[in-house]
């Protein structure tokens, strides 16, 4: 009897919390962050899109050490909305593309500007644009797809490489950087 009573109470509690979720979304929908891949951003930059504003939200010393071409620096610690520059597309990035998502909503509260977050941040840019790699065991289709990536990479001064895979199961001849391993391991 007591057990059935507590079950009913928990059921009602879940119902109230879920009804609150329904109401909360009706009152103020959550802003969905749009992601752009490093390859797509590289294409936009090469096309010299005049409507594009790329913003590096890392600290000035990190920006000075290396940044994506055409990006300007607005550190997240001093980020109070983005000074209007008349662009219709804004891309934000940081080290890994995680913390910057919380800034995206403040860029264009009225939705007049398309705001994107760079997938995996500068890490993704370095891995996919500046140092893309393809195992020598890749299929013809994968090689064809890599050709375009390699061509784009060279345009930015990157070093695309074919990585030789040793015949030993599970062991690559050239291991990926530790940072890439960690990101892949998370999946």
């Amino acid at each position: 009897m007591k057990r059935g009573g507590s079950g009913r109470t928990l059921g009602w509690l879940a119902f109230v919390v879920a009804a609150g979720a329904l109401l909360a979304e009706t009152v103020a929908p959550v802003t969905v962050v749009q992601l752009v891949t490093p390859m797509e951003l590289a294409r936009w930059i090469r096309e010299a899109r005049s409507d594009l504003d790329v913003i590096d939200t890392r600290e000035p010393e990190e920006y000075a050490a290396g940044h994506i071409p055409t990006a300007r620096n607005v550190p997240s610690t001093r980020f109070e909305g983005v000074p209007a520059m008349g662009h219709s597309t804004v891309v934000l990035y940081d080290e890994s593309g995680v913390a910057v998502t919380s800034l995206a909503a403040s860029v264009s509260p009225d939705g007049s500007v398309e705001v994107y977050v760079l997938e995996r941040g500068i890490d993704g840019w370095l891995d996919e644009v500046m140092a893309p790699r393809l195992p020598d065991t890749a299929t013809a289709a994968e090689r064809a797809a890599f050709a375009e990536q390699a061509e784009l990479s060279r345009w930015f001064g990157g070093l695309p490489r074919i990585v030789v895979v040793e015949p030993v199961a599970g062991q690559a001849a050239e291991s990926l950087p530790a940072r890439s391993k960690r990101l892949l391991g998370g999946c």
Binding site: G4, G7, G11, A14, F15, V17, A18, A19, A21, L22, L23, A24, E25, T26, P29, V30, V33, L35, S96, V98, A99, T101, S102, V117, R182, G185, G186, C187
Partner: protein, 199 residues
Amino acid sequence: MSMPFYANGLFGDGAGLTFALVIGLAFGWFLERGGLGNARKLAGQFYLTDMTVLKVMFSAIVTAMLGLFWLNRVGFLDLTSIVVPGTFVAPQAIGGVIFGIGFVMGGLCPGTSCVSAATGRRDGFAVVGGMAAGVLLFGLLFPVLRGLYEATPLGNVTLPELLGVRAGVVVFGVTAMAIGMFTGATAIERRINQGGGRT
């Protein structure tokens, strides 16, 4: 600092694995204390005499769903950093049928078989062994099965994206469904057990 802590750099690899171990042990301990290391109890689900499995699973789904929704809503969790596994309709439907057949035959699913084996039950060891053999067989046959494995992809979709509604609508709908199923399951359980008692 917002969650997930590992993705945001608050936990390193060591701390992440330690927490995973602690959470895994706690999960196993609670499953065992809930009686879910016993194949007879789990098999009761298929005979409609014991609906514990359904209630536990839906309780877990609703708890996690409400937690994720509200933590994201108050800005303590970044949902875009949570990995959403890809959906492949045909292979996952076939996998579900194979999983179901194995569940009925063994009376245990992967998690509960580990719990059962950890408490020394021989049927638990048998199911864990079968599971390992299945994984090995799948790995060996993967070149043959690859076409099926990658068939009918839908991408990393979530229910709100698939249904074209806001997350809050799905949260409310799934919770209402779970509450309805708890009520219905309890009624069925009572009716079946009372009927069995009379015969």
